[in-house]
Symmetry: C2
Subunit: 212 residues, 2 copies
DNA sequence: GCTTGTGAAATCTTTCACAGCA
DNA sequence: TGCTGTGAAAGATTTCACAAGC
């Protein structure tokens, strides 16, 4: 049993992937081997076993892992068994896409507020929340007790939005605006740049093209 | 001079970040030190120097790096100096968001085709391309000479789309559908799951909350 | 016999610390 | 003097290989 051990970052970033694969596999089987899970997740089987060993000894030798049980354990360790109140700042296409992301409600993420600086967008819906103007953001964030905020504004607005979020006591921010935000140490911030993946892809295509 | 050396994966994934920071810095200064670049990118200065050393010796001791020159070199090494013909499959919110991503035209990514299975979306615009029905996808992909395809369909449609892409000879795929695609070895595939970042964030929030 | 769980080895990445140069 | 470029050390991650257990 290793469940007290610290889970390495690299493992944490793969757990959601396993969760997705297990969700698909659950429709077909009740038990899965590290080999099968690895094949469907596109990683090495030893890696799957080591990753899962950080959660504890949940497999059965000679058999594999019980899918339902594993799903519950991973969910628990990722904190996905708790409900989270999410705010989306920026009601553009990306904000809409995230709000309607199928996995959100199932993982306990509830969109309880949405904001946009554009008066034309105010009053619309984003994942069940009515879009409100930026002016009331601070007040509404506090009022709704928002746990996690997602920034999908243009880069130029993102830092000001982050400052308001922090003033409202939001401690968890997921930033999709292509700009590096500066936030206090206690705030948990993750930056995602959709363009970066295209650029990395470009690098590998470039290499392959050069080889040909 | 180290430019012949193989660039490590970890470095490749940071180069687009440096590019973004340099783009911002270019407005203020012509020269930047590894220390400043590191601070704005949120990494260690030694790491910046080592990363840049894989590209060659482009800095000046006692001074720093010439921003414009560095931008050009990184662009070149990432293959961003070449034009790429991009197709977007799935004209929903995420497809729209990506198509209108500001960085695309500037990096040589041109959206030359867009597709959707929904007849209501056909005829609309995605980043300057007219949305066409899925039936003509194979033909149009070949016809337009698409280099990179972006999948933003629901998970259920993604594998069939990928098969068509591969049949059309598209060798580079960026998949946003939350499902693992299986493709032949020669195809360069990158999977991005927008939900994964939320789940990782959840883990870290969970940990902090537990400590309190 | 089959598959997990895990030390140990191999590999990759980050950071240190300083020589070398403008 | 100030900052780069880089060996070497430290640290993290991945993979191997096999004992342990069903």
């Amino acid at each position: 049993m290793a469940s007290a051990r610290r889970i390495p970052q690299a493992t944490v970033s793969r757990l959601p992937l396993y969760l997705r694969v297990l969700g698909e596999a659950a429709l077909e089987t009740g038990t899965i081997s590290s080999e099968m899970l690895a094949a469907r997740a596109g990683v090495n089987a030893a890696q799957v076993r080591k990753d899962l060993s950080y959660l504890g000894s949940y497999g059965t030798r000679g058999v594999g892992y019980e899918v339902g049980y594993l799903v519950r354990e991973i969910n628990r360790r990722l904190g996905l068994d708790a409900d989270r109140r999410v705010a989306i700042v920026g009601a553009g296409n990306l904000g809409q896409a995230l709000a309607s992301y199928g996995g959100f409600p199932a993982r306990g993420f509830h969109v309880v507020a949405a904001f946009d600086a554009d008066p034309a967008k105010v009053g619309g819906l984003v994942g069940g929340a009515v879009v409100q103007p930026s002016a009331v953001m601070l007040e509404v964030l506090v009022d709704k007790g928002v746990d996690i905020a997602i920034i999908t504004t243009p880069a130029s607005a993102a830092q000001a939005v982050a400052d308001t979020l922090i003033a409202a006591g939001v401690a968890c921010i997921l930033n999709f605006a292509p700009v590096s935000l500066s936030v206090p140490d206690h705030v948990i911030l993750r930056q995602v740049d959709l363009g970066i993946e295209m650029q990395i892809l470009s690098f590998y295509q470039h290499r392959v093209a050069a080889r040909a």
